[in-house]
Symmetry: C2
Subunit: 303 residues, 2 copies
């Protein structure tokens, strides 16, 4: 089934304890689309870049089955840029610079052929833009939305409006606590369900992810890795693998959502091994199959 | 098979965001022994208390099959006392007071009948005492040791001596990083294996636990709970359930270690629901069976 991905396509400068990468390709929508492309080749990308964004990166996504006709290229302007530095523990990072550039004017007008997309992945953006996209969709089957504490701090009202219209919300544990005002994630999930989303995914980075739905909970591990070079885009790769699997299988049962969470975790586990989208661009089906087996072994017990 | 438990039997004053408990029963060995008592009734407890420790608490453990002849009761002195206050997020706590009292003179001399115990659970104590206990054992089958960053800070040399003699080490993720000097838990585990323990368990609190052995990794979840009243003793309850299951089944294969980790997680999930050992004292086999099923459902997927 058709998958619509929306979010930033951008440049990042990233420093981690393991190295530094200058002005490399980044952006939520980039990670989401690359990740999803290992599961489906019916992807409609909506984003905005300046004339500085490399044409071969656009072509590389096209070659993966991503329809790039929804990528607005603004002549004479620069792409969105983010610079961040990770702490020793890699779970925390400081933002060094955020240059909105073309993103300040992002007002997505979906190509007509995109408007009947069935699976929708709203990457982290201002809630107003996420709502604008929802307003242009005809009859989506499943809407997944990623967001972050930044919008909770400065735009809670419009964020809640956006959240009220989505089926699956993906946030981290601290954000779930902030959004709900509840410390227990079980209670946080109950409150967030009341806000709209029938499914809540709590991303916990190196500690895995939790899926909440109608009182059921699924806990997916993260694969312990010998080296994590760059956590940037891990959440987006997770989201891309998750919705990519759902769009491919067109099955939104809880059982299949669990499989999708594992595929998201598998995809994210590759993402963090190299800077930028380095690893995500070079996977093949065997890599993914082997890592799925590693995840199965990781949690299997017989009791 | 016989299980030897050693550690503190003590009083705690505990403050969490959900309440305060004054001078309630605590201590690593108390939690370990209560937890293990749901799996085996062949337990030899070694500890020390003052004459202020309630006799009915000693009798309650005896009624669970715990041989209390290794509990030294020092007349005219007080039991070990710890006071702690948990932060809002419950993952961190401040120590308000530590009164060693009788613990300052603890020099365990194991009853003769205890010396051929097969399963050994060394609760958190000074490494010197842990070593003294090991020196008195005839032919243990499996030695599990719990410790903490405190001993890494002030007694690393003797801690490493103790660690070199154990089969299973249980520490948290930050402690694994401190002990090994490695950030990646995979690399930390490899270094810690080289120090002696063939098995490493990394306790991650609300994020579950990891078991490392010969390049294999098992990831156990923690059960998301609606209310955690008091995290005190969670790690000790985990250890008690873990070694209790092993002593009961007398099978130290990796597959059975994984089951033991789940039993430890199950037991810890009860512990934190009430202050002190309130919940741990009131379990029955059905409670445990139901929670085992909850753990199975929590991680099951079909891919």
């Amino acid at each position: 089934m058709s998958l619509l991905t929306i979010g930033t396509v951008a440049f990042d400068t990233i420093e981690t304890p393991f190295g530094r990468a200058e002005r490399v390709v980044g952006g939520a929508c980039t990670y989401i689309s690359w990740a999803a492309s290992y599961y489906t080749n019916n992807i409609n990308l909506v984003s905005i870049v300046g004339d500085d964004f490399p044409d071969d990166e656009i072509k590389a996504l096209e070659a993966r089955g991503v329809d790039m006709s929804g990528l607005e290229i603004v002549e004479g302007k620069k792409s969105f840029f983010w610079e961040g530095k990770y702490h020793e523990n890699m779970n925390q990072r400081d933002t060094i610079a955020t240059d909105l550039n073309v993103l300040a004017d992002f007002d997505p007008d979906l190509p007509e052929s995109f408007r009947d997309s069935k699976y929708i992945m709203l990457g982290n953006l201002t809630p107003e833009i996420q709502i604008k996209v929802l307003d242009q969709l005809k009859n989506p089957k499943l809407v997944v939305m990623d967001t972050m504490n930044f919008w909770m701090d400065i735009a809670m009202d419009s964020l809640k409006k956006a959240i009220s219209r989505v089926d699956v919300l993906t946030i981290n544990d601290e954000e779930a606590r902030q959004l709900s005002g509840e410390y227990s994630l079980v209670n946080a999930a109950a409150k967030i369900h009341e806000m709209g989303p029938a499914y809540l995914i709590i991303k916990k980075g190196e500690h895995g992810a939790l899926l909440f739905h109608q009182g059921n909970i699924f806990s997916a591990p993260a694969l312990p890795l010998a080296r994590v070079n760059d956590p940037t885009g891990a959440g987006d790769s997770f989201a891309g693998g998750f919705i990519g699997h759902l769009a491919k299988t067109d099955d939104i049962s809880f059982e299949n959502m669990k499989r999708a969470i594992i595929m998201g975790s598998v995809t994210a586990s590759f993402c963090v091994e190299e800077f930028s989208i380095g690893k995500l661009k070079s996977l093949n089906d065997d890599d993914i199959k082997r890592r799925v087996e590693a995840f199965k072994a990781l949690v299997s017990f017989d009791l």
